[in-house]
Subunit: 417 residues, 2 copies
Amino acid sequence: MDQERIRKYAKLAVCTGVNVQPGQTVMIFVSPEQHEFAAMVAEECYLAGAGKVMMEWTFQPVTKMAYQYETVESLGEVPEWLEAKHRWMAEELPCHIHILSDDPDGLAGVDPEKMQQAMVKKNRVLKKYRDARENRDQWTIIAVPSPSWAKKVYPNETEEAAQAKLWEDIFSCVHIEKDKDPVDAWNRHNHQFLERCRKLNEYGFEYLEYKNQLGTDFRVWLIPGAVWMGGGEYTMGGTYYNPNMPTEEIFTTPASGRAEGKVVSSKPLSYQGMLIEDFWVEFKEGKAVSWSARCGEEVLGKIITMDEGSCCLGEVALVPESSPVSQTGHMFYETLFDENASCHLALGAGFSNVLPNYDKMTAEEWKEAGINDSLIHVDFMIGTPDMNIQGVTSDGKRVDIFVNGEWAEEFRSQSDN
Amino acid sequence: MDQERIRKYAKLAVCTGVNVQPGQTVMIFVSPEQHEFAAMVAEECYLAGAGKVMMEWTFQPVTKMAYQYETVESLGEVPEWLEAKHRWMAEELPCHIHILSDDPDGLAGVDPEKMQQAMVKKNRVLKKYRDARENRDQWTIIAVPSPSWAKKVYPNETEEAAQAKLWEDIFSCVHIEKDKDPVDAWNRHNHQFLERCRKLNEYGFEYLEYKNQLGTDFRVWLIPGAVWMGGGEYTMGGTYYNPNMPTEEIFTTPASGRAEGKVVSSKPLSYQGMLIEDFWVEFKEGKAVSWSARCGEEVLGKIITMDEGSCCLGEVALVPESSPVSQTGHMFYETLFDENASCHLALGAGFSNVLPNYDKMTAEEWKEAGINDSLIHVDFMIGTPDMNIQGVTSDGKRVDIFVNGEWAEEFRSQSDN
């Protein structure tokens, strides 16, 4: 592969993605299959001035064995040292770089019940440390092709050709081109997003209404005063970072407990190495009350019933059909990409930083304001080329936001035309 | 490569090496380059009944970067969670499987002073937990070829051919043959070793005297009552395991502070990714007082001066020139193999379990009995085809132990003839 562009990508993740500051510690979460790329990212961290780099390797085939052979007791166990490590992370706030590459259905065959029980058990101890990091640490998620993921996306190609094609897709989605500085492209991209958010925020919509031929007929209420966001974000300490690469979504957190109607999935959902396909979810008073899936229905059920908040929505995100990710013309079977090809919702935890003054509120106050709380946050795609979305203001005014899967005229940026 | 024999090797490490007992936790220390073999070993652990398998990945190129870019402060730092993990290891006693594969000079260029300082700093906190595990946990060390290690051993071959040849060497050294059960071979091997140890122990030598044409002229005193060991060992809890695969040495711990004369290296020493070649060390009253090396002299000096005990000897080991490792006809640049091709000594910590009743003694009493203490244990090779070693008993009787690099007649086993 093109080592020059791969190196650019590693540097982009470090500098524009997580934006490592001199002296900071960086944790890199990656599969051992990707050791060469991981070493490149580590080197870029040091070159950017990182004080320490910690590698956190996880190998999906071994994870699968653990789910097969270990007891729920063992899987969900949090020894004191592991809790101490998470406490340390919440105190020291190292940067997190997540490098995804796993086989989208590499955990197929694992008992979803067992997985859910283990996760719940583990999170009973660890969630508070994750919550304590929220809005305070810099993190970014990127992806690199493994043979198995590439073959899932390009089943008719050889492993090598599939990986090469997937690399090209990734480069085009994250704005990496030969002889061009991707940092410029990201700055322009983020600027457009700010403009679009500003327009949406000015309307202060009370609720959104979704309709398409697939069967989605759905209304979701927004939190008064909550803002639309997209692209880069700031930590409470004021460091700018880009949590997702690519990112094409404008999103907010809807009011927990206020959504009505049915949404129909438009793309498969790959959840922790298991695929859920052709599914719908019906909401009443903000809660998922019924659902069905052609494939992976049990896994979908486990997601929705994971905890008290996992049946409610934590995110409403708008992505046009013309996004660069969508334009590759295929599924990635990886949320990081697929969520950027399509309008989507997320079950589970909302983002508190959509609230003005979120940094002066307690977690309890976030919840009271309508931000859903859960140990999961699972995006699922509902956008289609015929999706229409209208925003309705408190005085009953209807505004087209999406028309036939694209931003309505007034929300388009210069470069969209 | 021959997947059947590789699978046998993985199973051998788990069953005969570390001898995993039902419900035990196993930690596998391995490079991410070896993720496929590592997953195979993990699976064999589960099949042997392990309750939990933990992967502990370390990637040498990233370790090298850390030594280059981080401060000694950062390198030697032990955060609370890491100390808690070592405490947990000392309490829970998981099995350790170490899978070596690193480039023998992959850390060339690292400042030995910096490495030493970092290690001393780290060990000030962690050594007590390692000491607490001594003689109590099951562990084994095996090795698999990485491209860089294989090319070091076979510089004139392609990467692929070099790895294939190194695999064949490993198989021959660890008694893995097609259509044969290696467990039988290991049982026979261990039985021979017991016989040889019994004969040596009956003599109760006061000291050994080494001489060869290379310039070694050396006497080392043994601890009265200490035994010669070799092959498998028992934990205090009574579980049998094989700490090294391959193993061809019969060894004991000499009396700390009682060695005189000069020893000349017969093979290069690969220490933590750096090579030391053509060196000698002179001992007075058990301490290394002068030394010199054609290559890597600074590293040798750092080893000898690491701590109070690093200038004294912790091991005396006897290996004939005809050992299967030696018969491959080449250096491995890896102590696990090279120490099994040649008589050697080790600087640093001795093995307390050579003492009768060691399990009823305190660490202080081990030291008083003559077992050297140090945070290092570094083997270096002195055996040659003309090496003669005599044992001298307290009543002045001289017994040939090695004649021209081979066990003297009375110590040979049936199968040697």
